[in-house]
């Protein structure tokens, strides 16, 4: 027993997935908005 939280990879993947998806989608939205001008 070390007192360290065990596991938790699911939430780690969720955070990184949401972060990357948001950044990529925002980048795409900028590209589309610029093309629309």
């Amino acid at each position: 027993m070390t007192g360290m939280i065990q596991g938790g990879w699911g939430v780690v993947w969720a955070v990184y997935g949401i972060t990357w998806a948001s950044l990529i989608l925002y980048g795409i939205s900028l590209h589309l908005r610029e093309r629309a001008q």
Binding site: I5, G8, V12, V15, Y16, I18, T19, S22, L23, G27
Partner: protein, 231 residues
């Protein structure tokens, strides 16, 4: 087709962030208390730092817009507030997932969390106001004032962990963090800086085209004015 400089900067940021996150996830040691959950650090902390920095840009742009009345500053307000809100929203989502795993709850009225929530609402109001006001000069003035008012909370967000006791972790420094964690954290922060700068500049160009057209448009006659009738 000409490739603009911010495209290269964004590409560098993207690749750097990929590398930093890889090291954070698979190479860096687990955090002493939080274990592998602590790896959220490499996404969450750079998002927070660069989010606050983006709001600082919007504050400076708002002052510039107020002093000059020019579309170029107004476009920077629009761009930096939008990107700041993206990072702010991400920050709250990342933090609530991290909180659930370490504190047992997605949300608590901790001073850092509460001030961050106020921050997203305050800057959200800035964008909402910009959507509601059609007259360019009036929009510039009102949204600049709203941005300056919203920014008052940003230093409070930063200092909240120092000023009040709460669940959120206090400031860390390279002396208190394992050196194997410092390098990917710094790399992720610079990567996020490059990527966000690219986003702000590209968004600024888009806003500038639109705002320049609006600022340069000839004034139309007031529809409520009485019509002149010639005899």
């Amino acid at each position: 087709m000409k490739v603009r400089w911010e495209t290269y900067l964004g590409a560098v940021g993207f690749l750097m962030l990929l590398g930093a996150h890889y090291v954070g996830l698979f190479v860096a040691p687990p955090e002493a208390m939080m274990g592998d959950v602590g790896r959220i650090l490499y996404a969450h902390v750079p998002t927070a730092w660069i989010g606050l920095l983006t709001y600082l840009v919007s504050f400076i742009a708002a002052i510039g817009a107020m002093l000059t009345g020019k579309a170029t500053w107004d476009a920077m307000v629009e761009a930096s507030v939008e990107v700041g809100l993206l990072l702010n929203a991400l920050l709250l989502i990342q933090g609530s997932l991290w909180g659930k795993e370490t504190w047992g709850v997605y949300w608590t009225w901790d001073p850092r969390l509460t001030t961050c929530a106020i921050m997203v609402v305050a800057f959200g109001v800035v964008l909402a106001l910009r959507k509601q006001i059609d007259e360019p000069a009036r929009r510039l003035t009102i949204s600049s004032v709203a941005t300056i008012v919203a920014f008052v909370n940003v230093p409070i967000v930063y200092m909240s962990v120092k000023w009040w006791d709460g669940l959120h972790q206090n400031f860390s420094s390279p002396e208190t963090v394992d050196s194997a964690m410092v390098t990917p954290l710094r790399a992720a922060a610079f990567a996020m800086l490059f990527l966000s700068t690219a986003f702000v500049v590209r968004r600024w160009r888009i806003a500038l085209v639109q705002l320049t057209l609006e600022f340069d448009a000839p004034d139309l006659p007031d529809p409520s004015a009485p019509l002149a009738v010639e005899d």
